[in-house]
Subunit: 332 residues, 3 copies
């Protein structure tokens, strides 16, 4: 986290500049969604309790907080098993996500919530911004320890922009069917491309490091990240689904897929390792893979056994892929 | 976590076999609950926002996620104060719970949600499956460090089965009055029997271990487990209560009982120890005891002071029991 | 945590005495809020699903659980970066908060929910009790390592009392306009006064300590506290807001302020330090400052850019204040 004295002003100036830009752009473009606006009740007619409950807030807010925990604690702690980078992992993730959600609110707003010259922001926008930043967090895992905070902020700026453009092209121009409520975009636009980077880079970082000493503690910290991602993934996949049965079904499907994924990942992990030990990194990969794989289709009538099959395959493929791609890279 | 090379294939094969069995059984038996089914809106008549809100999902999902955190982070980290077993504690707990919830969905489904040859699964089933696995997690605490992952999976298979049979006998055959919505079963069927095992076994494990070195860190990890159990216990006790005031009341009663429990457990703990130090294990026991004790009656008109009295007594009894039973075992 | 043998009975007796007093006072004064009372449905007319949803429980409970996590995990782990006091931090915070919420239910109840000789307790009271205890947790941070558990309990007794009296004077006697739903009181009554204490005291404690050794782990634990406070602050500021758009808006405003705060705090922190390293204590201060500053006005039509500006300024002022006040104290 230290750098050359000549570069000392780079981080402060970058942060301030970006934040000033955000303030100006928010001032020009961002307003409250009608559901969060004080004029809401007047528009909806005479206020009564049941119309208060119709507020999007009550449908989405609990899921939003779960997703928020996934981004900041889940992804933040996921990389703490890399002993030397534990603190950077959490701190830098915090910084890039705090900037990323602001920029994502703007970018996604321009493409999807732009009316009469304004972006109208409600709880669903907050969730989508968190989603977008999630893809940056995944990419961040691949380059942890190789980049400065300034580079991370710039990477976030570009990646959020590309993510939003890609989302716009797929959804609005190509008319891709995204049953899972913008899940298509996540899977294809972000994870599909990024997990490649992840798989390719992380092993080097991982194996080049001596993992002695308090590695035991580091693993426990990483388990905090893994578990919060795993536990809250049903909220992630159901957060922006349609109201009612769709949201309900997306949560059940994700729950099933994730459970199946754990067992097959453990099976593959212990079968492939000579020492017969469970490698937490495999569990982590499987966790993400299981949640992401069912994401696109989470809202569909996939049936619980369908979700189990998705999880079953994902746990195997993800662990196999990780082990053999790592081995291949190691030989080269 | 290492074992004989001859046994190397046992874990992978057990995991794969169990997961294939789950896929097949889910395929034959498990379907979505009407609230999670795409035909839901048609059956309920013309869709409108207020009928979306009637979906069980909005009544139960936030509580479900809290219970989910209790099972995976709460019970997972509870045992990390055992320095040598910290990582196993979290990892094995993850494995057994991921299998357990699938098997519990089936077993509890056959007994309670079985109609026309199918089990209909909704968010309430997910909560009940988590509850059932909670009892396995408690038992797991008693045998941590003495069993292999394969043995754990088999133990989970049997315990979930027995739990469900016991639940069926009490509720459906004997017609036991369970005001707390299946809390009776938990308390009597699972914890009553299992806390005995816990109390008897854990002390040995605990005291036979040298706790030097980074014990400080281990205690902090264990506090994560303890706190998430303590904080979310009101959700645990209210998660499957009746809608409205019953759910509200169950949360308040549990909140009161848990708060009282902490003070009396601290009092007993510091009174009984020569060193006058607070022993975290006492706090942990008291936490569980306070939540469990009020569980059966959480939904009743117990009155806030009634809950305080329950917590008061529990904190004392649980700490006394722990200290003297431990001492007795130590002499033998 | 050890003390003189003569003083050995002080903690047990104080705990038991306080808890007995709580039981008696709850028995005389505390009853369920109508929303949590079994007679609720009868009073509201024939039961139907939509009246169940009108229960305050469904508007407030998810936010309550988030606030609960902030008090026990957030504030508990915030101070764990002080290596020697890590375990005390979490444990003592647990003890004082468990007592504090009971006493706050009574004190705030007498002033605000007292009808016909009874205090009627519902989920909103639980949230307000947690808020009140939050101010004690902040003050606790200032004196950590200097006081015994007994002194902490007595401090809690006095501070909760003063907090409630101050709240009553501001709200009921002076008729202060508190748009943010009792946020005024928090900010002015508690944090405004207490952050002074915090800023003045903590530096000494902080710098007088050698932070070698497992400081890396301690920082990660402290990040758990910081992140849970930061992530759940939108729930804190919206928990007791009016239903519907007000609650929605309070969450959005807090989200924006917190995000902006992180960037300017990082900017200031790295600009002011010769080593150019990010100091987590600055981030922690900024976190709290950003959340508190927007608290009073969170419910108002502040506009997203208004919230960004609040966060922007807070991040700068809070970090500057911390660095220079610390330096000033260091010279003296």
């Amino acid at each position: 986290m230290a750098w050359n004295t000549n570069l000392r002003w780079r981080l402060p100036l970058t942060c301030l500049l970006l934040q000033v830009a955000m303030v100006v752009l928010f001032g020009v473009f961002v307003r409250y969604d009608p559901d969060a606006d004080a004029h809401w009740m007047e528009e909806k007619g005479p206020g009564n309790l049941s119309s208060d409950l119709d507020n999007e807030f009550y449908y989405r807010y609990p899921s939003f907080q779960d997703v928020h925990v996934m981004i900041f604690v889940g992804f933040g702690f996921l990389m703490t098993f890399l002993q030397r980078y534990g603190y950077s992992s959490v701190g830098f993730n915090f910084l890039l996500a705090a900037f990323g959600i602001q920029w994502a609110l703007l970018m996604q707003g321009w493409f999807h919530s732009f009316h009469d010259g304004y972006i109208f922001v409600g709880v669903e926008n907050l969730i989508n911004a968190d989603f977008c930043v999630g893809s940056v967090c995944v990419a961040f895992g691949a380059i942890l320890g190789k980049v400065s905070p300034v580079q991370l902020l710039i990477m976030t700026l570009f990646q959020v922009t590309l993510f939003s453009v890609n989302e716009f092209i797929l959804l609005s121009l190509l008319g891709v069917k995204d049953a899972g409520g913008s899940m298509t975009i996540h899977t294809f636009g972000a994870y599909f491309g990024l997990t490649v980077t992840w798989t390719l880079y992380r092993p080097n970082l991982y194996q080049s490091k001596e993992r002695e000493g308090p590695v035991y503690q580091s693993d426990l910290f990483a388990m905090i990240g893994t578990l919060f991602l795993w536990m809250y993934w049903p909220s992630f996949n159901s957060a922006v689904s349609n109201h009612g049965d769709a949201q309900h079904r997306a949560a059940i499907n994700t729950y099933c897929s994730l459970a199946a994924c754990v067992l097959t990942a453990v099976a593959m992990s212990s079968a492939l390792q000579k020492k017969g030990k469970l490698d937490m990194v495999h569990i982590q990969n499987a966790t993400l893979a299981g949640g992401v794989a069912v994401g696109t289709a989470a809202e569909m009538m996939l049936m619980p056994y369908g979700s189990l099959i998705v999880g079953f395959i994902c746990g195997i493929v993800s662990t196999l892929g990780f082990v053999y791609l790592t081995a291949a890279l190691w030989v080269l």
